[in-house]
Amino acid sequence: MRMLWNEVKKIFMWKMMLLLLFINSILYFLLIEFHIDSFPNGSGLYSYNVGVEMVDKYGATMDEEEFIDFKKMYEAKVEETNRYLQSREDFVAEGIDTYDKFTAYDWWNPSQEARALRDDVFLGNKIDLFWELQERHGLIEFHNRRKRVPDVLSDKERQRFEQLIEEEKFGVYTDLVIQNFKSFIANVGVAILFSVVLVISSTIIKDRSRGLLLLQYTSKKGRNLFKTKLLAGYIATFIIITSLLAVYFSVYSLNRTSMFFKVRVNTFIANESWFDPTFFQFIMICVAAIYLIGFIFATLSMVFSSRVPNMVSLIGIQIPFVVGFLIFGLNPLLPNMILIWTPKWLAPMSYGLMILLSALIVIFLWKREKKMDILQ
């Protein structure tokens, strides 16, 4: 235990921690801040408010009766808007005294007065009713098209769509919340990936390049220290991921999306998925995926750290792997891993393969280390 503690302490040197803080601050402001500060963004506020109201009133699912109630709410709001329009002489003068007339107006060729009035309710006086009605109307439109199956689909995707329709799992809630979370978690994934690679990369190479192996491997502990170093690397990875997730999820809590936690992912609009966890379960799946990605890249970093001659080559050799993963792997293996547009087998197969390869590489490395001549 003393050795393990020593090795973990060596990884968490204060200089490295400062660098970690610096990198995460930059990545936070570049990638994550927008998804926290600007949520809900613009008209998204009305979408969010309507969504919260729906969850409060109808719970995690909506049946037909509840949707009829939702439509009644819409109609009540339309009535309220009608009264507002009729109270405005300028709208009446323009012949727009009901919301139906407002929506039916030819807004492609508006009169100067009509355009001014529209700008006034949407931008000038910013009348909430008009924004809110748009959102409610959009949700009703989605609901009306709920049983439509897209034309271009693979057999499996079509089967899944049909299964969801049969089980009456329709997208009724605004996708704003889940899309915001997906953007957030993808960027948190990037920050954590960089952090793990940054900290873990130097775990093994430092002692090797300083010539410490000569003393370490001739001590009683001997080459078994390599296994302790690997274990320390994994413990450090766990600590880094857990700490960063704790920080980033504390920040995410400012988005106040917890009321959607019990909503199932297929109940969010345009989020048809192979499985049907709740939003909270989906968050947990993403957290688990981040741990897996972290451990896999920690293994990769330690592999390179025990092979390459110096830090420059260590950084250089990892860039294609990290960049390649960010371009091709991050979205299908993290935020969209259960989405219907990602093959169902892709995430389990990829993670399974990566875990297997990591385990094989670690076994190979240990066997090699046990017999390797230490020449430095």
Binding site: M3, L212, L215, Y217
Partner: protein, 291 residues
């Protein structure tokens, strides 16, 4: 007893050591050879850092690689160059190594103070090692090798960076240590071991050349080492003709020490051979003179 049995080491086509056979008991052994002769390879094989390509090394009849930590527990090792953490103090560094050697913290702290005192570093116990001179680092290295009170102490070029006073202190320390353990010192500096080694091992052409006492090794040149005084003008021709061991200027002339295996000239004075004479003779490079 440590035994090297028919040990060879090859790196691809290059042979570093060939068919080495040695036996070590309690006492001090000096491994003497010029740089690049294979001393470090042999030392690293004894320290389990390198596996012999052929043959094996046994301790009390057991293969040291199979003994694993049982062997390393008995081992104290100082490499030619060793790594350290610059921001560690000698105390922190030795505590780290003590943990690797399986020594409890309490016991280690006591031992560390004692050893740092022995190598005259007791006043810098808590200073960061990045501020240390080469000699001070080397003394930390010597101290760490003694942490586990080893039965086998292997030191590769231990006096590198030490000043004459430190060397003398170090020789005393080694003599003391070699009383009840096996000490192997690899060096190319003859004076490091000449006066203290029970036996000297010399390697030449990747093979064992000598393993004997200093007296016996010197005896191989008995009657062949001479001194004479010559003019400066004759020096060049003398160098070509004989294996010169040393040259010393005195009263405008040169006193030369050299080896000659034939009939000596009258004015030459026969002198008792020293270990350095054997070293220079055996490892002479491109000396064209006759012997």
């Amino acid at each position: 007893m440590l035994v090297v049995k028919d040990a060879s080491k090859r790196y691809g086509d290059f042979t570093a050591l060939q068919q080495i056979n040695l036996e070590f008991n309690t006492g001090l052994y000096g491994l003497l050879a010029p740089n690049g002769a294979g001393k470090t390879t042999l030392i690293k094989m004894l320290a389990t850092l390198i596996t012999p390509s052929e043959g094996e090394i046994q301790y009390n009849g057991k293969n040291i690689l199979e003994m694993d930590e049982q062997y390393r527990e008995l081992l104290g090792f100082l490499p030619q160059q060793f790594g350290y953490y610059k921001n560690f103090s000698p105390k922190q560094y030795m505590l780290y190594l003590a943990a690797l050697k399986g020594i409890g913290k309490k016991e280690a702290l006591h031992k560390i103070n004692e050893l740092l005192d022995k190598v005259a570093l007791s006043d810098v116990v808590n200073k960061k090692m990045k501020k240390f001179s080469g000699g001070m680092i080397q003394r930390v290295g010597i101290a760490q090798a003694l942490l586990n009170d080893p039965k086998i102490l292997i030191l590769d070029e231990p006096t590198a960076g030490l000043d004459p006073k430190e060397r003398a202190r170090f020789r005393h320390l080694l003599t003391e240590l070699a009383r009840d353990r096996l000490v192997i010192i690899s060096t190319h500096i003859v004076s490091d071991i000449e006066s203290i080694a029970n036996e000297v091992i010399m390697i030449k052409n990747k093979q064992l050349l000598y393993k004997d006492s200093v007296e016996e090794i010197c005896a191989t040149l008995n009657g062949n080492v001479f001194e004479t005084t010559i003019d400066f003008e004759s020096l060049k021709a003398f160098r070509k003709k004989f294996v010169l061991l040393s040259e010393k200027q005195e009263y405008g002339k040169i006193i030369v020490r050299f080896i000659h295996k034939g009939v000596p000239e009258v004015e030459w004075i026969s002198v008792p051979p020293q270990l350095e004479d054997v070293f220079l003779y055996e490892y002479r490079d491109e000396i064209e003179g006759e012997v």
